[in-house]
Amino acid sequence: MSGAATPAQAAGSDRALADGRIAFYRHPLAVRLTHWVNALCLWLLLMSGLQILNAHPALYWGEISTFDQPLLSFGAADGPAFPAWITLPGFQDLAGGRSWHFFFAWLFVLNGLVYLGYALRSGRVRNVLAPDREQLRNIGRSLADHLRLRFPHGDAARGYNVLQKLSYLIVLFGLLPLMLLTGLTMSPAMDARLQWLTALFGGRQSARTVHFFTATALVAFFLIHVLAVLAAGPLNEMRSIVTGWFVIKPEKRS
């Protein structure tokens, strides 16, 4: 079963609680810290990003802006396309939005490097995040269970299930690096050094568009992530990502 893939050191940290449940150390400190720094960064990057987008709320495909034929444009003729309550600063201020955006972009990158260093050294990617063959074979059942909001219990909840693993892998090694790369592609200075990046995304305006849609995908991930936390037991989930300890009921095997 999937729970068997839990690393040995986690199993060694089991603590039996008085009511027969078992608490085990699920999230190491490095993961908890980088998770919350990342959450803060993404939230502020989203808000300051919408502030920046408000300065020219239209997206294009290719190298340049075809003003009369945008791929997508937002908002009405008057007033900002994205309302003040979702932008940072909370008033029209492109310069301020850029300052916030670049500051938290750096923090996001440094935090990401810390996580990456930890995840690779500790074997977390292989042991915790990579789905095994059996999990991949049963992906259909896992999906059906999730749609009915039925989550693994007992020992099966020790490790991540296959949908968790895949979505975390996609976010960590797909969407987040894509945000960084498309962001860098928009820099006229970086373009003088990394012209292959601009070519990869099909032009600066394409990169800007991909930047926006990748951010949208991250917002979608966030919503599903929070919904899953609420459905799977918000107290237990929050405890584990704050203190590291996750509680399971071993007798209730499914």
């Binding site: 020219h56 190298e63 340049i64 003003f67 492109l94 301020g96 500051f103 820099s187 003088a192």
Partner: protein
């Protein structure tokens, strides 16, 4: 609690929470301490990009078929002062670029003299800080040649560009457009004082008679309607001291991203 009062209660709580967040955010984003912390990122951007790019890395150059059909003109599209209008009426024949400050040989160069100097033509992408991009063809004299002709004094560190346009009317004159760049950018081979755009003399909307092209940075650095350039040791005494019209209004001095 009936569902209606519960809903109203929920609505009020959310409004209050939202209001709190917004006002807290505004208080934070207006604090000078926060802003000076955020400025680290600009410093870091500049240092890292300078290391990655070096002095020589060239911005991408495109082909004729990539040129934008519509090249948006931003900021001032006509300085519209008496002096400027008179110059424009005479097709800038009586206009002269004044080169001064920390130079060995102050110069006054007419458009004809600039045109007779060796030129460079480049088709490049213009990235506006707002997010849009256009591709245009620029011909002009490399700023490095003008600097070489004037001869920099050893303590010169920046080149300032003073423009004919006033973007904001202020009592102290700080609404006048100006820009500053350092010598790394000033001596870059693609840094031009451009007088032609798309094979025609620069039109008024795009900065006639002369504008700066600074291809590795954003559009607001590329001063239009350049009247005078000056070599300086520091730009602290210009405008409000931040090194440019938009810089004085919160934008980054280094605009490589």
């Amino acid at each position: 609690m009936s569902s209606i009062t519960r809903r109203r209660w929920l609505q009020r709580t959310l409004t209050a929470l939202g209001g709190l967040t917004v006002s807290a955010c505004d208080r934070i984003s207006e604090s000078p301490h926060v802003n000076s912390t955020l400025d680290w990122a600009e410093e870091l951007n500049q240092r890292v990009q300078r290391v990655l790019l070096g002095r020589k890395a060239l911005a991408r150059e495109y082909t004729e078929k990539d040129i934008s059909r519509e090249f948006r003109a931003n900021g001032t599209t006509n300085p519209d002062t008496e002096e400027y209008n008179a110059l424009a009426k005479g097709r800038f024949v009586s206009w002269k670029l004044i080169v001064g400050g920390l130079v060995e040989r102050p110069l006054q160069l007419s458009l004809e003299e600039l045109r007779s100097m060796p030129s460079r033509t480049q088709i490049t992408r213009h990235d506006c800080v707002e997010g849009w991009s256009c591709i245009g063809k620029w011909k002009g004299v490399q700023l490095s040649r003008v600097i070489e002709r004037a001869g920099l004094k050893p303590n010169a560190r920046f080149i300032a560009f003073y423009c004919a346009d006033t973007l904001e009317l202020t009592l102290d004159g700080t609404g006048q457009y100006y820009e500053t760049i350092d010598l790394v950018d000033a001596l870059h081979p693609q840094t031009l004082l451009a007088y032609d755009m798309n094979d025609r003399p620069l039109d008024i909307a795009h900065g006639a008679p002369l504008r700066l092209r600074l291809e590795r940075q954003l559009g607001y650095k590329m001063a239009k309607y350049v009247m005078r350039i000056e070599a300086l040791e520091s730009f602290q005494k210009l405008g409000r001291g931040k090194g440019g019209y938009w810089e004085d209004r919160g934008y980054q001095w280094y605009a490589g991203i």
